[in-house]
């Protein structure tokens, strides 16, 4: 996440980091923001979902893993970088109307559907949450193997 945030700031984009007020989440988010540039602003725990949606509508780009706000960004039409591991293909976010345009495979590890780019982590597990073993799910191997280099092409092309 730090590489991605720094990448955006280097291109003149201020970054807003959202999140819930849960203590565990704050312990994750705060060190991340503190390790980044001064143009990265932490609103985790202080922004309501509806307000975040309005902020998204004014944003040039959204990036996040498989979580509710990622799906919200995709439905709002915001250029979205969805960082996915084990969840494919059932939960891939899509711009509405849903799946009128099926996801197109840009590379082996990247899909595009409308405004949404799905970058997929690499591992040997089946790309299907319902078949995914508990052990592999715990490890999150797909996401750990997701290399920054394979992600940055997407925001780079969106911001051009």
């Amino acid at each position: 996440m730090k590489t991605l945030a720094d990448f955006l700031v280097e291109r003149g984009v201020s970054v807003v980091v959202t999140g819930g007020a849960d203590e565990v989440e704050m312990e994750y988010v705060n060190p991340f923001v503190n390790s980044t540039s001064r143009q990265v602003f932490n609103v985790a725990g202080r922004i309501k979902l509806a307000d975040a949606a309005e902020l998204l509508k004014h944003s040039k780009l959204y990036a996040g893993p498989d979580t509710a706000i990622t799906h919200l960004a995709s439905f709002l039409g915001v250029p979205t970088v969805a960082l996915f591991g084990k969840s494919l293909p059932h939960d891939v976010p899509s711009h509405s109307p849903l799946h009128s345009d099926p996801p197109r495979e840009l590379t082996k590890r990247m899909l595009r559907t409308g405004n949404v780019y799905v970058v997929i982590g690499e591992c040997d597990c089946p790309r299907n949450a319902r078949n995914y073993s508990a052990a592999a799910r715990e490890m999150g191997a797909c996401m750990k193997n997701l290399q920054p280099g394979s992600v940055m092409d997407v925001p780079g092309s969106i911001l051009q």
């Binding site: 984009v13 202080r46 979902l49 509806a50 979580t67 709002l76 960082l83 999150g140």
Partner: protein, 159 residues
């Protein structure tokens, strides 16, 4: 009325289509089930359960004179759910959970509406401006949400 898990109320705040948001206790318990069913039993013409869940099906059955729900894919134990429900959609018929939820509209004869409408109020620009030290409406900005609920979905902090 909509029922949501504790902490999720913000998703419905300001939504003019929702008259009441009901949040059970911080933790589900037999007591909270009993209270919910006692308070709302048979009160509504229609109850829709938008998740595949034993509990949601039971709640919908209890509070609605007609209850409609998503049910699990073929092969899972769905017989008792079908016995309680007036209608259902199957989770294995669509590739996306949001699409699954919208298919409930087909069951009750409501046209599907795909546009995402954000509930808001006149104060939201000021609230956002109070959080950010730059003009977020005019300057280029991006949003990153780093923390998913499940750790297996987290990207690395360094990434």
């Amino acid at each position: 009325m909509c029922t949501v898990q504790p902490g999720r109320e913000g998703a419905l705040r300001g939504n003019s289509d929702v008259s009441t948001v009901y949040t059970p206790g911080a933790r589900y318990s037999v007591q909270s089930y009993r209270e919910f069913i006692t308070d709302f039993k048979g009160r509504y013409d229609l109850a829709l359960a938008a998740r595949v869940s034993d509990r949601q099906v039971l709640f919908a059955w209890a509070v609605g004179r007609k209850a409609v729900s998503m049910i699990g894919p073929e092969g899972e134990n769905r017989l008792w759910m079908k016995a309680l429900l007036s209608g259902w959609t199957s989770l294995d018929t669509s590739p996306h959970v949001v699409h699954n939820i919208l298919e409930l509209g087909d069951v009750v004869g409501i046209e599907k509406y795909y546009e995402c409408v954000v509930p808001g109020d006149p104060d939201w620009p000021a609230r956002i401006s109070a959080l950010l030290p730059f003009d977020w409406r005019d300057q280029a900005c991006a949003v990153i949400h780093p923390y998913p609920r499940n750790s297996c979905m987290q990207w690395t902090l360094g990434g």
